[in-house]
């Protein structure tokens, strides 16, 4: 991923005609595609839930997932703090906050996997057993995959931090990762509300 030995010409200016950095415009467009993906999945979930018996979500552990939601929100706070840290040029602090992001994100994913294992092994909720289950597993697994990709991305960002790639003038990669992570967080808040609470 290093820019130095990259075959891409280095004289390109990332700041473009609109005054925005290419990468920032790119990530916003990518998030637009993600909005559409989750919209389709949520539409499918809502359709399935409306066709199944009401109260199908009673098998879900709301206190545990509420805690898990809090964990994910904490990870978002850590990302916000890491961006603030590099704005002030504090690289070590950036690294530490990113490590905390990794910790909170990893906890979220672990709890989600634990929930899956419990629900499937007990037979309370399976993708094949009910319409609610079909919708539930499709939406939440895609979200979980996004968290997983985010964890890899976060790890890469930590590596770049340790390689000294970021400074108060150049930290777009941290910002772009942060936008992605906040998005994944926001999607979860919507999913938690729709799937667990309503």
């Amino acid at each position: 991923m290093s820019e130095v030995n990259s075959a891409v010409p280095v004289h390109e200016q990332p700041i473009g005609t609109t005054g925005l950095d290419n990468r920032k415009l790119g990530i916003w467009l990518f998030l637009a595609t993600e909005v559409m993906l989750f919209s389709a999945l949520i539409a499918g979930f809502l359709d399935m839930r409306s066709r199944g018996p009401s109260g199908a979500n009673h098998v879900l552990n709301i206190p545990l997932t509420a805690f898990n939601t809090w964990v994910l929100i904490c990870s978002s706070l850590m990302v916000a703090l890491s961006v603030a840290a590099i704005e002030q040029g504090k690289t070590k602090r950036l690294r530490n906050y990113l490590l905390l992001t990794l910790l909170f994100g990893g906890t979220f994913l672990s709890i989600q996997i634990f929930e899956y294992i419990h629900l499937i092994s007990s037979g309370e909720l399976t993708p094949w057993g009910s319409l609610f289950g079909a919708g539930f597993y499709t939406v939440t697994s895609v979200h979980g995959l996004h968290v997983f990709i985010g964890l890899i991305w976060c790890t890469l960002t930590i590596i770049w931090t340790m390689q000294g790639k970021f400074s108060p003038k150049e930290f777009m990669r941290v910002e772009v990762f942060g936008l992605y992570w906040h998005f994944v967080d926001i999607v979860w808040i919507i999913l938690f509300t729709i799937i667990y609470l309503l």
């Binding site: 473009g16 595609t33 389709a40």
Partner: protein, 557 residues
């Protein structure tokens, strides 16, 4: 080439200097454009062979060439390949090559993402072929459940292949949007962009908003097939219309993904060979955007007979008819462009003119189909097959060939032979109409699509159609021969063989690895034919021998 080029080694390279550069993770938009074009053209040939199989089977109602599930397999793959592995990536390839050149950029915004988007097509294409080998993708390119849930294994591979292709298009679209809006030379305002850039921007907006919905639907299909989810299965309480809604929410806009870049190409070709400025620049540009937006409001016209709420048919009929308005605006703008011009009937121009007339036929049958009573009558008949081939072959493919003949000299530095080009054009034009026009008649009389046989009274029309399809197959041979011969010893093109406006023509042919050593300056109308001198060197290129003047006998202004 020039010394400023950063020569990549190993598996990631930049620039096409030697043959092997084209078979590697190359980050040069020009190399990627050629990679796209060659790969998609290969799939065009594969899809064409499948089409000939279908037509051979349908030559006579009693034929036994491919019957039953094997016929279904072939028609599914024909549709899927032609849409997802030929038209969409071929336009992406052409745009990849010319868009950065047209807007004065040295490359796309994200060169690595650009290469990744291309290379995602390889697993996508291989899996698609594997699904054919395994067998099972028999539900047509629309993959309606419950059939698509119960077909054998190949359907799952088909769905996974489409996911790869979907990711490829999404990454490509993000890249195009950032490139077009953020990489233009500062002197080029939005309304000085070439219309192809507007068209590709509109296309990319559709892809960004539409393709993820297909990804979601395919994911539900994969969940249904692999994990037994009951999304689409009525027996399990699921909803088959959910698939149709999600699928057409993407796939109707997808027809604009397949035609808008064609509109853009036509808007480049017509002024260049009419020696007149484009008529109604802003109307053409904004109508592309209008189509992109309205395209998302019409999807349920594919479902008039699917059991949707009958009340909803009326609004969808109205929106479907409204979308004909921006399309009509374009047609009349093009007619205004060629009106009173000094037309030069190069092969590119003849394809462009054929595009207009064939697309109008397809567009008119589209308005027929948008109206509910007629749609109920001809749903799932050959009338629909005729309609979609008039817009996708008569429209998209004709536009693609217009673009290929137009930019081939820029891409390769060599001219294509015009006489062979005319042979290619006329065989294509006649073969196309002979193949698909009779299908209107068969469809109106009730011949159902997607069946390997038919009632004997349709024999004459089908035989005609099959003969036409053989003509179409033969038509591709002069093109192949022409392209290969020109690559070897075609006439040297020089920087601007058509004496056209547009920044791509100010560079040598082919352009240097780093397109613009200094940022070019844009002043005035991008189509100032007859109003101001052609910018850039018409005659003195960086390339080796002296340039050739305009090749056609009748010179422009």
């Amino acid at each position: 080439m020039t010394a400023d080029a950063v020569v990549g080694t190993g598996l990631i390279r930049h620039g096409g200097r030697k043959f092997s550069d084209y078979f590697i993770f190359n980050t040069d938009h020009k190399v990627i454009g050629i990679q796209y074009l060659v790969l998609s053209f290969t799939f065009f040939l594969i899809g064409g062979v499948l089409a000939e199989l279908i037509r051979t089977q349908l030559a006579l109602p009693t034929n036994q060439v491919i019957v039953g599930s094997r016929y279904n397999l072939v028609l599914t793959l024909h549709g899927t390949i032609m849409i997802f592995l030929w038209i969409i990536p071929a336009f992406a390839g052409l745009a990849n090559y010319v868009i950065p050149l047209m807007i004065g950029a040295n490359d796309m915004a994200f060169p690595k993402l650009n290469a990744l988007a291309f290379w995602l097509l390889i697993p996508g294409g291989l899996l698609m072929m594997a699904s054919f080998a395994v067998g099972g993708a028999e539900s047509g390119w629309t993959a309606y459940p419950p059939l698509s849930v119960t077909t054998p294994l190949g359907q799952t591979i088909w769905a996974i292949a489409l996911q790869f292709i979907g990711f490829s298009t999404i990454f490509g679209a993000i890249n195009f949007l950032v490139t077009i809006f953020n990489m233009r030379v500062p002197s080029m305002g939005l309304t000085q962009m070439p219309l192809l850039a507007w068209a590709v921007a509109a296309t990319s907006i559709i892809i960004v908003l539409g393709t993820p919905v297909l990804s979601g639907a395919l994911l539900m299909l994969i969940m249904s097939r692999v994990l037994g989810a009951q999304f689409f299965t009525p027996a399990g309480g699921g909803n088959p219309l959910l698939w149709q809604n999600l699928f057409w929410f993407y796939s109707h806009p997808a027809v604009y993904i397949m035609i808008l870049p064609g509109f853009g190409i036509i808007s480049e070709v017509l002024p260049a060979f009419s020696r007149k400025p484009i008529f109604g620049y802003k109307l053409i540009a904004f109508s592309s955007m209008a189509i992109a937006i309205f395209g998302f409001l019409v999807w349920a016209h594919h479902m008039f007979t699917s059991g949707m709420d009958p009340f909803l048919r009326v609004p969808f009929m109205i929106t479907s008819m409204i979308i004909a308005v921006p399309t009509g605006v374009k047609i009349f703008s093009w007619l205004g462009t060629i009106w009173g011009g000094k037309l030069r009937f190069t092969t590119s121009m003849t394809f462009a003119l054929a595009f207009i007339s064939m697309f109008v036929i397809g567009g008119l049958s589209g308005i027929f189909l948008a109206s509910v009573p007629i749609d109920i009558h001809v749903q799932d008949t050959y009338f629909v097959v005729a309609h979609l081939h008039y817009v996708l072959f008569g429209g998209s493919v004709m536009a693609l060939f217009a673009g290929v003949y137009y930019w081939f000299p820029k891409i390769t530095g060599r001219m294509l032979d015009e006489r062979l080009g005319q042979v290619h054009f006329w065989l294509t034009f006649l073969g196309f109409n002979l193949t698909f026009f009779p299908q209107h008649l068969a469809g109106l009389q009730g011949m159902p699509r997607r069946v390997f046989t038919y009632a004997p009274e349709f024999t004459a029309l089908n035989l005609m159609s099959t003969l036409g399809s053989f003509l179409l197959a033969i038509a591709i041979l002069p093109f192949l021969f022409n392209a290969l011969r020109s690559l070897a010893r075609g006439k040297v093109a020089g920087p601007n063989p058509w004496r056209a406006f547009g920044l791509e023509w100010t560079l040598s042919s082919p352009p240097p690895v780093h397109n613009f050593p200094t940022p070019p300056v844009v002043d005035g109308d991008p189509y100032g034919y007859g109003e101001r001198p052609i910018p850039g060197p018409v005659g003195t290129p960086a390339g080796p021998p002296a340039p050739a003047p305009a090749p056609s006998a009748s010179g422009g202004n």
